[in-house]
């Protein structure tokens, strides 16, 4: 290390921390981008050929370098240094992006720069500077403040998905956090999740008064509001004594597992409970023999990795330290590179279902092309979102899949919406629905 070498290499160390409320913490990362564009290309070992070369929806859709992480880092650096002012175009560049993490894992193959955190910090800066978020995000923030859900729907209807067959326990070790999407719009996912748990003999409880997880406002840079929700929700779960928070929404999963600890400046382990997505939990149940998927589901099926369940889901650990010579940091940092993503569990579950013929798309796992719906993009730039979904669906059609399965209501809705009216026979299902279909 630097101090063990000759004194001529001594360099004063600079303090920094993984605190996205101050973009200065990420100037090093923004300034060290080398334009290898590893953030955009599918990782070269897995490069499937000329047709599907990229994994960044923004760069693929808008094409100017400004929209890839290599451009955003330069623009962000100039904004932080005061060499460039905010403008409508700057906001578009930052917000017409799904923060899907493809750039982050790509960079961490080559350079280990903190691209995702840099992008998040720039959105927080936009809010701090009074120019962000986008109007659509402000409306949603207002909805959440008033009705505790992003749609502005009546709060009392949040449990409207519960049918007479579903009986959540008053207390249980597993707490199912349903989320806004499955509570109001994709109720089939919540119902399927409850049926799976029942079939495996797992009691589950709900939060006594569930509120939005805050994914969208956090993603839009409304840090303080998101932090308040994190504090409230974590406290509520702790009060219940639940040992596991279970989610069927990938975006919510990432919020609970990664961004709540980030907002609260604690590690994921320090939450006091486990955070699991349904596919992790169900995979365990299937391996224990408690979940029996015997009923054939004859279909040629492909699985879309939701970004927040895969490359964005490594657990969070706060970091505060110093950066010195050659950019080395102390104390040592275990970088989040997407290696711990939930990649194999959904595939093993699907393969275990009789009749399912699982075929992979050209871009999978950490190289998957985002559906386009996440992190506020769908609300602020719907055309972009639809374009991204259509682009991904080309892969689905090319491999001849009859069913597209995902593990997030946001992906499911965007794909289903995009498929409407295009004459395709592809059906979109959440993985909970497919598992449910295999239960006798």
């Amino acid at each position: 290390m630097a101090e063990e070498l000759a004194v001529r290499y001594y360099k004063p160390r600079e303090n920094f921390k993984f605190d996205i409320t101050d973009a200065e913490n990420f100037v090093y990362d923004m300034s060290r981008c080398i334009k290898c564009k590893g953030c955009t290309w599918v990782e070269h070992t897995y490069m499937p050929g000329p047709k599907y070369m990229t994994r960044c929806p923004s760069a693929a859709r808008y094409e100017f370098d400004a929209y890839g992480a290599y451009g955003k880092m330069r623009i962000g650096h100039a904004l932080v240094e005061g060499k460039l002012g905010w403008s409508e175009k700057a906001l578009e560049v930052l917000y017409a992006c799904t923060l899907c993490g493809a750039c982050d894992v790509g960079c961490k193959r080559n350079l280990d720069l903190e691209i995702e955190l840099s992008l998040e910090s720039l959105r927080v800066k936009a809010v701090q500077d009074g120019v962000g978020p986008m109007p659509a995000h402000k409306k949603i923030a207002q909805n959440i403040a008033q009705t505790h859900n992003m749609y502005g729907a009546p709060h009392e209807k949040r449990t409207g998905w519960i049918t007479k067959e579903i009986a959540p326990a008053a207390r249980a070790e597993v707490l199912y956090f349903v989320g806004c999407a499955a509570s109001y719009k994709n109720q089939e996912i919540a119902r399927s999740t409850a049926k799976i748990l029942k079939a495996a003999g797992t009691d589950f409880m709900l939060m006594p008064d569930e509120w939005c997880c805050g994914n969208l406002i956090f993603s839009a840079g409304l840090y303080d509001q998101a932090k308040a929700l994190a504090q409230r929700n974590v406290e509520q779960v702790r009060k219940t004594g639940a040992k596991t928070v279970l989610l069927s929404c990938a975006e919510g999963y990432r919020m609970w597992k990664v961004d709540y600890p980030k907002l609260l400046n604690i590690s994921t382990d320090a939450l006091g409970f486990k955070v699991l997505h349904l596919v992790e939990y169900a995979d365990g149940l299937a391996k224990d023999g408690r979940l029996k998927m015997k009923k054939p589901v004859p279909t040629r099926l492909t699985y879309h990795d939701p970004c927040s369940l895969s490359r964005l889901s490594d657990p969070w650990t706060p970091f505060e330290g110093k950066r010195g010579w050659m950019g080395c940091v102390e104390p040592r940092l275990k970088r989040r590179r997407g290696e711990q993503g939930v990649y194999h569990q959904p595939r093993e579950l699907l393969k275990a279902i009789p009749g399912v013929n699982l075929v992979e798309m050209p871009r999978t796992r950490e190289n998957a092309f985002c559906c386009g719906a996440g992190r506020g993009a769908y609300e602020a730039f719907p055309d972009f979102s639809k374009w991204a979904a259509a682009h991904r669906l080309e892969e689905v059609k090319e491999i001849g899949a009859e069913t597209l399965v995902t593990a997030c209501p946001w992906c499911k809705s965007n794909f289903a919406y995009t498929l409407k009216g295009d004459g395709s026979a592809v059906q979109v299902r959440d993985i909970s629905e497919v598992i449910c279909a295999a239960l006798e």
């Binding site: 290390m1 070498l5 060290r32 370098d65 451009g71 993503g341």
Partner: protein, 533 residues
């Protein structure tokens, strides 16, 4: 001065409003540096400018129309494919038009005639993927799997696989070039209206002018289409495995295999390489910088320094490795034969085979150049030399010696003699010297080292690749000529009399030396008073 609005409208009419912008945010996205190849150095700080406008053509015809508008209206322009090649591929003058060629990513495989035809927006790894599926392969150049194949081939275009496949000059086939004034020039069989299967003719063969030794960075026009020769490969699949960042191609061991050998001396290294070439075996024969081993082993940049800091000049000077890639091009039996021959050679030179993973992390499909930034954050190859095998190893030692004078700010590398390897079955030796530094240090000595390497090459008569726009032309030209500089400038004036295609290349490094006060003391060569300012 803002980009002229009338000209903007004329350009917009060519590509449509979606594919042109002079918005400051869009232009900022095309900044060279502060990070990147050669970035953070004086050349980047002194010589690069933000573009005044960016345009994204889709077709050759659009490129022609754009260039004609520029030429007529005296607008300087710069062709740009992926932007990876640091400051030298970015604008050097105010209000230049940056012509981003990424949309020109056409790809055609002609399996029967063993070539692919690509646009400048097509990168290497997809080309290799398709080729391998059809029993062929190309060199993924050392510039990286992410490099534009066209840009890399007219600039560099080699890798360890050059042991067998050969130099880029011999792999560029029919090529299409938009001249600086917008006229179209077709090279090789394309000129006769045929398909591009042949590079030499019957039309004009200007490939030597186009790329020279290591290219002219777009100052002679824009290559919009190129056919690249492919070579036969073995048929078994190389299967991707692992989760990023730990990914690799699993090799079919009976058809493709890397073997690392430790040999007793540099002489043994060179002899082994020569004998392997003479025996016409192997797909690659190379010796890479020793610190690349530390990069491969380390999980992080901090761990790299833990590993590397344990080395010293003695341990580096006494470490001799030869990496050999065996390929059973025609059969398993051929591979077995090659392996027997290889083992005989190694026995003769005293080489010991080391356990080697049955996978490929770099070179076949993923030349991992981007990973070179991990440990320091700043990097450039100061030189590449194509020499005899014997001389290429001497060249590395000369560099190691010169480097000591500039360390720090260069990273302590304990006189690592760089990378050298066999080209063209041992006919040539290739040597490359890479340097690393911390961008936050005083980097002026790195600029000085760069020019000093040229002086060292001149003194020792090494065949350096970094002529033309890479070093001061009036330093290298008289010494590698005696009129190399005059010849090159005549070519430039003939192709581009108005100097609108990436000015002031090929005199950019001369201009840099004039503009950078810390370079003045080094200037012991003559240059004209009327250098472009």
């Amino acid at each position: 001065m803002a980009f002229n609005k009338e000209i903007y409208k004329a350009l917009e009419a060519v590509v449509g409003s979606q594919y042109i912008s002079d918005d400051p945010v869009i232009c900022e996205g095309y900044r060279s540096g502060p990070g990147g190849y050669e970035c953070g150095l004086g050349y980047e700080r002194v010589m690069t400018r933000l573009p005044g406008c960016v345009i994204l053509p889709k077709t050759t015809e659009q490129v022609q129309r754009i260039v004609k508008i520029c030429y007529r209206n005296d607008i300087p322009y710069v062709p740009y494919s992926t932007g990876f090649y640091g400051p030298r591929s970015h604008p050097h003058v105010e209000d230049a038009l940056l012509i981003d060629l990424k949309r020109m990513n056409d790809f055609v495989l002609d399996e029967k005639h063993f070539y692919v035809e690509v646009g400048p927006g097509m990168i290497y790894s997809p080309i290799q993927e398709v080729c391998m599926k059809h029993g062929a392969y190309v060199i993924v150049g050392g510039g990286g799997a992410q490099a534009s194949a066209v840009a890399n081939l007219i600039g560099d275009g080699w890798s360890p696989l050059s042991h067998r496949i050969g130099l880029p000059h011999r792999r560029i086939l029919g090529t299409e070039l938009v001249m600086p004034d917008g006229e179209l020039l077709r090279l090789g069989s394309l000129a006769a209206g045929s398909d591009p299967f042949w590079g030499e003719g019957p039309g004009p063969d200007l490939r030597g002018l186009l790329r020279g030794y290591t290219g002219l960075r777009g100052c002679l026009g824009i290559v919009t289409r190129m056919a690249i020769k492919t070579m036969p490969f073995q048929p078994e699949p190389l299967v991707p495995s692992g989760i990023s960042p730990n990914t690799s191609l699993v090799l079919p061991e009976k058809r493709v295999k890397w073997i690392n050998f430790i040999v007793p001396s540099k002489e043994a290294q060179v002899k082994a390489m020569r004998e392997i070439g003479h025996a016409e075996i192997a797909g690659a024969v190379t010796k890479v910088p020793i610190f690349w081993r530390a990069i491969a082993r380390a999980e992080s940049k901090e761990e790299f320094w833990d590993i590397w800091s344990k080395e010293n000049e003695t341990s580096v000077a006494s470490f001799f490795i030869v990496r050999v890639l065996l390929i059973g091009y025609t059969s398993e039996e051929q591979m077995e034969y090659d392996e027997h021959v290889l083992m005989d050679i190694m026995q003769e030179v005293g080489g010991q085979a080391r356990p080697t993973k049955p996978s490929d992390e770099s070179w076949i499909k993923n030349a991992d150049s981007a990973g070179m930034w991990l440990m320091c954050g700043s990097y450039v190859s100061v030189d590449y030399v194509i020499e005899t095998l014997s001389m290429s190893s001497v060249h590395g030692s000369s560099y190691a010696e010169l480097k000591k004078k500039y360390t720090p700010p260069l990273m302590p590398d304990y006189a690592d003699p760089g990378w050298f390897q066999s080209f063209e079955l041992g006919h040539q030796g290739y040597s490359e010297f890479l340097v690393y530094w911390d961008a936050d240090d005083d980097t002026n000595p790195v600029d000085q080292f760069y020019v000093d390497t040229s002086k060292m090459n001149i003194q020792n008569r090494y065949y350096t690749s970094l002529l033309g726009p890479h070093q001061p032309l009036y330093l290298t030209g008289p010494n590698y000529g005696p009129n190399y500089h005059e010849f090159l400038l005549k070519v430039k004036n003939e192709f581009d009399p108005k100097w609108k295609s990436h000015p002031p290349v090929p005199l950019a490094h001369d201009v840099f030396v004039e503009r950078a006060p810390w370079m003045h003391y080094m200037k012991d060569w003559k240059s004209p008073d009327d250098l472009p300012k």
